[in-house]
Symmetry: C2
């Protein structure tokens, strides 16, 4: 089993990546301090994996809430329902919340854990590729607002991340592709060799070959753990992990949460960021083509929704969390494998790309 560590002093925690982890009760129980557990899952994941998790929790006082699937569940209304459930069940401050599902479940459950009784512990048990490589690691929790994605939330680190590779076997191909978008992101911002490796192994990844997946997940988690450890609250280089996200969030918000998967929107966002980087003279057309081609091979979209205008993008991007002194800060690419946070681009370049 691979074990990585997110090194954050007293808030440090391990990321376990392997097959069969959901069945290993001694592993999961090690991270539950008390005897009370609140499991949050969704209507797709619960029928597949909840029983396995409950078997591990035998003897504990367990409360469950199963949420509807999809990004449009990630709102304040759902959070309210979870608080109601936990208070009705008299969950105490020593409860451990377990997020069993994809990124949506992890973000909601983590935020509920951050606020319940001013903060209780939680475990991330991600069951999608996207959550295993990205959202389950790093303590970003939160919910969406009609006016913007992830606008309300907290930095709240989990006690551990338990990524059972077996749970990826039941993923729909669209979800696999969405996860690969975030995998490619790590390569693009940090590791040109990983990009080349992904290009070679794309077919195996899409086929959910277990060893290839494991290798890719560990590579991503290693990069994320390093960036998070250096900059937990995103005042510096952690922002590089948002490559494609400012554009992507605008797509998700504008189209109504849930129509586009997060990874799909990020894929298009990365292409837009690459096109800006090209116009700034940083990327060559060959590199942009290479990127687009690999995203297409991964089954991902590379063009924005046709109905979205430049004004639509700008309206949503202006509310992004990375706006500073009125400027939209963007993660752009100096080359494949090297990203940079940029504020001083000419506005005309952004407008040209969006048109």
């Amino acid at each position: 089993m691979a074990v990585l560590t997110v090194d954050l002093g007293e808030r440090s925690y391990p990321i376990h990546v392997d097959a069969g982890l959901l069945k290993r009760d001694e592993l999961i129980r090690e991270f539950i301090a008390g005897s009370e557990v609140m499991v949050v899952s969704d209507e797709t994941v619960a029928p597949l994996y909840l029983d396995q998790l409950l078997a591990v929790l035998t003897g504990m006082r367990v409360t469950c809430q199963i949420l509807p699937c999809g990004e449009d569940t990630k709102n304040l209304h759902t959070v309210t329902q979870l608080f109601d459930t936990m208070l009705e069940a008299s969950c105490s401050r020593s409860v451990t919340v377990i997020a069993l599902g994809g990124g949506v479940i992890g973000d909601i459950a983590g935020f509920v854990a951050a606020c319940y009784h001013r903060g209780v512990e939680y475990l991330q048990v991600p069951t999608t590729l996207l959550a295993q490589v990205d959202s389950a690691v790093g303590g970003k929790t939160g919910i969406n607002h009609a006016l913007g994605k992830n606008m309300i939330g907290a930095f709240h680190q989990p006690r551990c991340v338990i990524s059972d590779i077996d749970t990826l076997a039941t993923l729909e191909s669209r979800q696999v592709s969405a996860g690969i978008a975030e995998v490619l992101k790590y390569a693009l911002i940090r590791d040109a060799r990983f990009f080349a490796w992904l290009s070679e192994h794309m077919s195996a990844l899409l086929a959910c070959d277990r060893d290839t997946l494991t290798e890719a997940i560990i590579a991503c988690c290693r990069i994320k753990a390093e960036l998070v450890a250096a900059d937990e609250r995103e005042t510096g280089d952690r922002a590089l992990l948002n490559l494609g996200h400012t554009f992507g969030h605008a797509i998700e918000t504008a189209t109504g949460y849930g129509e586009w998967l997060h990874g799909e929107a990020v894929a298009v966002g990365m292409v837009l960021a690459a096109e800006m980087s090209q116009r700034l003279g940083w990327l060559g057309s060959h590199e942009v083509d290479q990127m687009r081609e690999l995203l297409v091979r991964a089954g991902l979209p590379v063009d924005p929704p046709p109905e979205m205008t430049a004004e639509d993008f700008l309206r949503h991007m202006t509310r992004d969390k990375k706006v500073c002194d009125g400027r939209i800060r963007l993660v752009l690419l100096k080359s494949i494998g090297r990203a940079k946070l940029v504020s001083d681009y000419p506005d005309s370049v952004l407008h040209e790309v969006l048109n």
Copy 2:
């Protein structure tokens, strides 16, 4: 001007206590990092002091929201409204939230600051005695739930606390008394000499004598700053600040938020805690009488609402944040000036006191 410090490493911040502070623009502006401000106040305080604050903020991009008064405003619905306002105003991550009002405003605004864009800065500008001596200091933020008080929240420290003594001149006497309840709490848990001083100076306090108030506020803030610095997230001695609060929260929740002022409920809670301490042989009847008498002189209630049964108390107290392994942990008094967190009291003693 008195300046105390809450010593929390990189999250340290000052508490300024003096007259005329709201008019000192260089003081307030020093703590605002960007040029965006979100002011949260209520319908009583805003007509009195909002203009003074806005005069200080000239030239900044200021958004205001004025909330209805009272504890029943402190809920998720209000928080949602504040998020809506801030997003509609396109407040960025560099916005500074300013809480101008009593404990309710400080708790809500602090929680909104904790969650907006995963955390922005905020200033506490408390305008009630209760907020100046207690709730504005220490970073506890949060809202109520129908099933329990302060059940949802965050530890989020302000950038500073600015307590302008002049704002107390317009307080209703009931609010002054409620604040004195928390003042007496500090004496009871930590400082017998302060208790004696309060007994001597009660008339001056009730008359809002400026020097007496200032001295009392500084004494309270000094104790609170010390306890918070030693135990920011209340895993130890900070819990002593909850003397009377577990009983008090039960009263507030059972009677519907807002009928009892927080300080009034705490006053009764402290009497109940004292009566338990007496039955455990820690306090003499003379000391309990002395306490009751001083609370009565302060214009505070000393008996629970007649309609509340022991079962009502226990039902609400069982959901308290200090419950641990099913036991209601209570702050009791070993003597006047010395408090102790206790779990191993005989249940019969609690039941006798509640009956």
